[in-house]
């Protein structure tokens, strides 16, 4: 049996029972959480972060079971959150950062820095090395490093991502890097590419879980097109940032 995160529905802001009565996510699965601003996405993530036990305003019950089926108590070690920030407070090189994080979790050795930098480099265009200083990383590099670090080094089995802005990384690949390392990823976002990147999407309304949709065949074909637009915007950004001019050939 795989690790599992289970969310049992409570009530929306009007006190009506949530239409979606429950969701279970297995290790390696991701769930996109979508809905207008104020629809309850952040509260949904907060319920997971705190492993709500019917004691939050929503009344939801969130439980996490490990591979042996044992239910975990409330512990900060279960849920990792991807910071909305794209900078570090630590003043060190990537290698010191990775070694310190791994050592703090009792995982010495194993060349964490090189593996983390290599994985981060698959997510963003500008490569970093273990010698790169954290404070010189671009927003995209920092975000890529944070994702690679959660995937490789952090022990937390559940990752929450709230409204990741477009920091110049391959978002679709970022989610698959996390789930590919066995994480359960829950992503609150307005970004169509990210919403469609998950096999299921939860639609929030008025504080409640309103609909749960599985990505159908046509969704997937549209995802490819939307991801193409997204990549085009990133390329255009790079062109303009280099001080070059946009040419109409760009669209051919």
């Amino acid at each position: 049996m795989l690790n599992r995160l289970e969310i049992a529905g409570g009530a929306d802001r009007a006190g009506r029972p949530e239409e979606i009565r429950g969701i279970a996510l297995k290790a390696g699965e991701s769930l996109a959480v979508a809905g207008p601003t104020g629809s309850g996405k952040s509260e949904f993530l907060a319920d997971i972060e705190q492993l709500a036990a019917g004691d939050t305003p929503s009344g939801r019950i969130v439980s996490y079971r490990n591979a042996k089926g044992e239910m975990a108590g409330r512990s900060p070690a279960i849920v990792a959150t991807l910071s909305q920030r794209t900078n570090f407070i630590m003043d060190a090189r990537v290698e010191e950062f990775a070694a310190l994080h791994a050592a703090s979790l009792g995982k010495p050795g194993r060349d964490w820095a090189q593996r983390t930098a290599d994985l981060a480099n698959t997510l963003c265009g500008e490569p970093m090395t273990p010698e790169s200083p954290l404070q010189r990383l671009s927003g995209g590099q920092a975000r890529a490093l944070m994702i690679a670090d959660i995937a490789l080094i952090s022990d937390a089995p559940v990752v929450l991502i709230d409204e990741v802005e477009n920091a110049g990384i391959d978002k679709h690949l970022a989610v698959s890097v996390l789930t590919g390392h066995g994480k359960i990823a829950v992503i609150a976002t307005h970004d169509p590419v990210l919403i469609l990147s998950s096999p299921r999407r939860l639609i929030m309304a008025e504080g409640g879980m309103r609909r749960l949709l599985a990505a159908a065949g046509e969704d997937r074909r549209c995802l490819d097109r939307l991801a193409g637009y997204d990549a085009a915007l990133l390329r255009a950004r790079d062109i303009l940032r280099r001080g070059e001019e946009m040419r109409e050939e760009f669209f051919r």
Partner: protein, 236 residues
């Protein structure tokens, strides 16, 4: 009555954390009160009263050492809380220097640590962190997951028996686990005859009595001088 001492450096989020936890306790039907110790001025008692409607008083240490003033008023704070019929009394310290810890043997102790204070902050915090029962880690949303985990590890190394509760002081996320733990605490509200967990510094010199001039001839009482030959005088 449960009495709870909340310590932590300035701006770590002590008041914000207490507001969130107190709101949860109030919702569960508890009567809550707060005492805020500060130095020169404080807006917190009014903040507790206006945002939660709970009884709150403040004490200003003014020209006295804030920690000495705090501990000299512990019985008075507890008596006030009992006189207001509180089930839970939050005693918030001014949180100034890291030389001592305001925590008392037998009374529940909370220390608030700011994630932004740096990865080495847990080593630098001394007895305020090492002698507490519960650590609240604030502003975790402003650092990366790795930095949060490294800081938590540093806290655990400085104080292996403290429980760590990450709490977002703006949104209150995390206050659920913390208030649940506080609800289980025993009722303890007597401070007389108890002991501080750590001693406080001697502070009897000419500057204690209002001296402002600089120079050896104006200094008397407990005066220690820099010693260039001591191992801490220069960076290693």
């Amino acid at each position: 009555m449960k009495a709870l001492i909340v310590a932590g450096p300035p701006s770590a989020g002590k008041t914000a954390v207490i507001l969130h936890v107190a709101r949860r306790l109030l919702a569960a039907g508890d009567k809550v009160a707060a005492v805020k110790f500060d130095t020169r001025s404080s807006l917190d008692p009014e903040l507790y009263a206006s945002s939660l409607g709970i009884p709150a008083i403040g004490g200003l240490s003014d020209y006295l050492c804030p920690d000495h003033y705090f501990i000299s008023n512990m019985e008075e704070a507890l008596e006030w809380g009992k006189s207001r019929g509180a089930d839970c009394l939050f005693i918030e310290t001014a949180g100034l220097c890291l030389r001592c810890a305001p925590h008392i043997e037998g009374l529940p102790a909370v220390t608030v640590v700011d994630s932004l204070s740096g990865l080495h902050a847990p080593q630098k915090m001394g007895p305020m962190l090492a002698l507490t029962d519960i650590v609240v880690l604030t502003k975790g949303d402003l650092v990366s997951q790795a930095e949060r985990e490294v800081i938590s590890f540093g806290i655990h190394a400085a104080n292996p028996r403290a429980r760590i509760h990450p709490v977002n002081g703006l949104l209150g996320t995390g206050s659920l686990g913390l208030s649940g733990e506080l609800r289980q605490l025993p009722e303890l509200d007597e401070a007389a005859e108890r002991k501080l967990r750590h001693d406080m510094p001697a502070a009897i010199c000419s500057y204690c009595t209002g001296e402002r001039r600089i120079g050896r001839r104006y200094q008397s009482g407990n005066v220690e001088k820099l010693r260039p030959e001591s191992p801490h005088a220069e960076p290693a």
